[in-house]
């Protein structure tokens, strides 16, 4: 059971990383740089948008970058 949960978690690793790590990171970087996200978004919402899109991309391509592994 534990192994199955771990396997599923790792298979969805890029998506989870995009939704759990990138949003707070983005929000804190925007705050430090004193940048305001467009369209009235909060820094955290901008982070979720960035992390969500990038995470889906990495999940789909198997890479966070444009190169294929």
């Amino acid at each position: 059971m534990l192994i199955a949960v771990l396997k599923t978690g790792f298979q969805l690793g890029p998506l989870l990383f995009g939704l759990l790590f990138i949003p707070p990171v983005t929000a804190q970087i925007l705050t430090v740089l004193d940048w305001t996200p467009p369209l009235g978004m909060t820094p955290l919402l901008a982070g979720f948008l960035l992390g969500g899109i990038w995470g889906v991309y990495a999940q789909w391509r198997g890479s966070w970058l444009t190169w294929r592994p």
Binding site: L20, F21, P24, V25, Q28, R61, G62, L65, P69
Partner: protein
């Protein structure tokens, strides 16, 4: 009758059997004893990396300085464990065995590489150096320095089947599925810690004290410990699978890997003694037709 060599100064003309005896006589002089410098290096490096967290979080140390130190910490963390992987600090059954295992486990934490995974896959690397199908590190083969860096970055991508991502498959082939779990737990703890730090308001510390230094360290370690000493990684065999070379960053900057050939010939000689062994053994290595470069 063994082939007789024509190079190698006073060793020229010796048979292979005589050469191996002379080689072993030199090697055995440098084996044994506890390499205390590596012990201090392993524990000290880990302690410094741990200390960075409160120092940066409390504003005592600027994040930029902490980042540079963390990059050095992660880059330096592999070698003490490497000594432990070869039982150099304390063999089984000796009084320093606990220290060997402690260094092996603890020093690798910043790199997020479990000791058992590192040890087993590294033994496979020694057994099958440069074998495209059996050397776990053969994926680090690259055309040149920039290609090595590019390939390491690619091997860190989630869909990659080379580099550290290949170690699971290697362990499976070895029938050591139990050790794969170590890797899963380490990965889970690493990303769990990163996320916990980020959501607690320490996202920049998580990135600059661990995530990014780890990326940098992996590139540096793979470049100097795997790519450079085996390049072009095409020949197999004891005397041809590893080379010595002169690094532009010197022996310390290249993590002692200018003499990696000595490590592959005699893995239980401590790293800090490699230059002396090389100097004494060089004529034999020449006689053996080793790839000595300009060192």
């Amino acid at each position: 009758m063994d082939a007789v060599t024509s190079h190698g100064g006073r060793f020229a003309g010796m048979t292979k059997k005589e050469l191996i005896r002379a080689e072993q006589a030199i090697a055995h002089k440098y084996m044994g004893g506890v390499p205390w410098l590596m012990v201090a290096w392993g524990l000290g490096n880990f302690a410094i990396w741990l200390a960075l967290w409160p120092l940066v979080m409390t504003g005592t140390l600027p994040l930029g300085v902490g980042f540079l130190i963390a990059c050095a910490n992660v880059t330096l963390c592999y070698l003490p464990s490497h000594e432990a992987q070869h039982d150099i600090i304390g063999r089984k059954g000796t009084k320093w065995r606990w220290l060997n295992e402690l260094i092996g486990h603890v020093s690798l934490i910043p790199l997020v590489l479990p000791y058992r995974v590192a040890r087993l896959t590294h033994y496979e690397h020694h057994k099958h150096t440069n074998d495209p199908n059996r050397d776990p590190d053969h994926g680090t083969k690259a055309k040149g320095p920039l290609d090595s860096i590019r390939r390491t970055i690619l091997s860190q991508q989630p869909g990659s089947q080379s580099g550290l991502n290949n170690y699971g498959a290697v362990l499976q082939q070895m029938g050591r599925e139990d050790v794969i779990l170590d890797g899963a737990i380490y990965k889970l703890l690493f990303f769990g810690t990163l996320c916990a730090l980020a959501w607690s308001g320490y996202a920049l510390e998580a990135i600059f004290l661990w995530w990014l230094p780890r990326q940098f360290g992996l590139i540096y370690i793979i470049f100097f410990l795997s790519w450079a000493p085996h390049h072009p990684a095409e020949e197999k065999g004891r005397y041809r699978n590893t080379r010595s070379w002169r690094s532009k960053l010197g022996n310390i900057g290249s993590l002692g890997m200018q003499f990696h050939l000595i490590h592959h010939l005699y893995p239980t000689i401590p790293l800090t003694r490699h230059p002396a062994v090389y100097a004494e053994m060089k004529p034999i290595l020449e006689a053996r037709g080793c790839r000595l470069g300009d060192l």
